[in-house]
Symmetry: C2
Subunit: 202 residues, 2 copies
């Protein structure tokens, strides 16, 4: 799992790096809980991969923050950024710890399952089937948040994760959608992805 | 901030302790982001208090888990519980780190504020004003989740926090409600608490 590749400096806006770290680490918590709840090794492996990605982002953010600091005032302000980045990293580590239980097959105690039950109500993971009406639609045009109170927080397309997809992202066949929202909406998005629901109600 | 009181064993179900740790730590992340976003020392202090509470729960959970293990099989299963509890504790620490920035007045860099902007859309903190229609109503009867897509995730009543309040919890005047949900619902719950919205639409 651990790749000891050298992480090279890439010029990237610190803001974008921080937003990505924060969004991914929050998503990872939900994914890790889901992995434990559904006993999904696949999902647990996704979490560990994302954890590595967050580590890489943390390094790149550190380098860019250092280069961004021109004077003492900048440095002071940027310390806050690095604290938040470190917190996101800690959250990502916590998610990886939970995912590791699934992979180590320690077994999920019924107590843990109960503790995670509320997660199940507000999170769905559904693969887009060939007869889903979502295929070819842009997320922004679907207006899922307004219509059914659901946000698509990630899409797994083949090996690639799209975290917090933008409105112009199009749904592809076989995409795995990770959605978060109100319990009723969660049921509806599953049906829409799987093709059992053929109409998106307002 | 740090109280070095002896934490004594209390017999409590491990399940309840784990659920509480998980719920509080997740809430703390949102509260910490809000504290940074709204530059609220009060909210930041709440987070640090909750962090101490989570630490205490972790100790009590540890003691109860040890006493619950009767044989090797129990012990194996309970290791998973302790990993999840440790993860919740790590998340709570991360939230406290963020809250500490607010209290240390390092200053919130505009970059951090931007990274937290999405939190603002899905989280509200509103005090219940004397002419709010919510006063005296039970949460379960209000059906906020079904009607406006909003969950009350915590209530601060005086010095006391009620985390994940149950349906039979009644809203009091001056309660501070922390709500999470869809952006439109978030605006509505603020209005309902503050008395500017006098009707809960279906």
């Amino acid at each position: 799992m651990v790749h000891l590749e050298k992480i090279e400096y890439k010029p990237m806006p610190v803001r974008d790096l921080l937003v990505e770290m924060k969004d991914i680490s929050e998503l990872m918590i939900d994914l890790a809980y889901s992995a434990a709840l559904f006993h999904s090794r696949e999902l647990a492996e996704d979490v560990l991969e994302l954890e590595e990605h967050v580590d890489t982002l943390a390094y790149i953010l550190g380098m860019n923050a250092m280069l961004a600091a021109r004077d003492a005032e900048d440095a002071e302000a940027l310390v806050g950024v690095s604290v938040v980045a470190a917190a996101a990293n800690k959250i990502s580590d916590a998610a990886a710890d939970i995912a590791a239980i699934v992979l180590q097959e320690i077994g999920i105690h019924p107590i843990v399952r109960e503790a995670f039950q509320k997660v199940e109500e507000r999170l769905a993971r559904a693969q887009v089937k060939p007869d889903s009406i979502l295929i070819g639609q842009k997320l922004g045009e679907l207006e899922l948040a307004a219509k059914i109170g659901v946000d698509i927080i990630a899409i797994r397309r083949g090996k690639k994760w799209i975290i917090n997809p933008k409105g112009d992202e199009t749904v592809h066949k076989e995409d795995v959608l990770v959605a978060r929202g109100a319990p009723l909406g969660i049921e509806e998005i599953k049906g829409l992805a799987e093709g059992t629901v053929q109409k998106l109600e307002d």
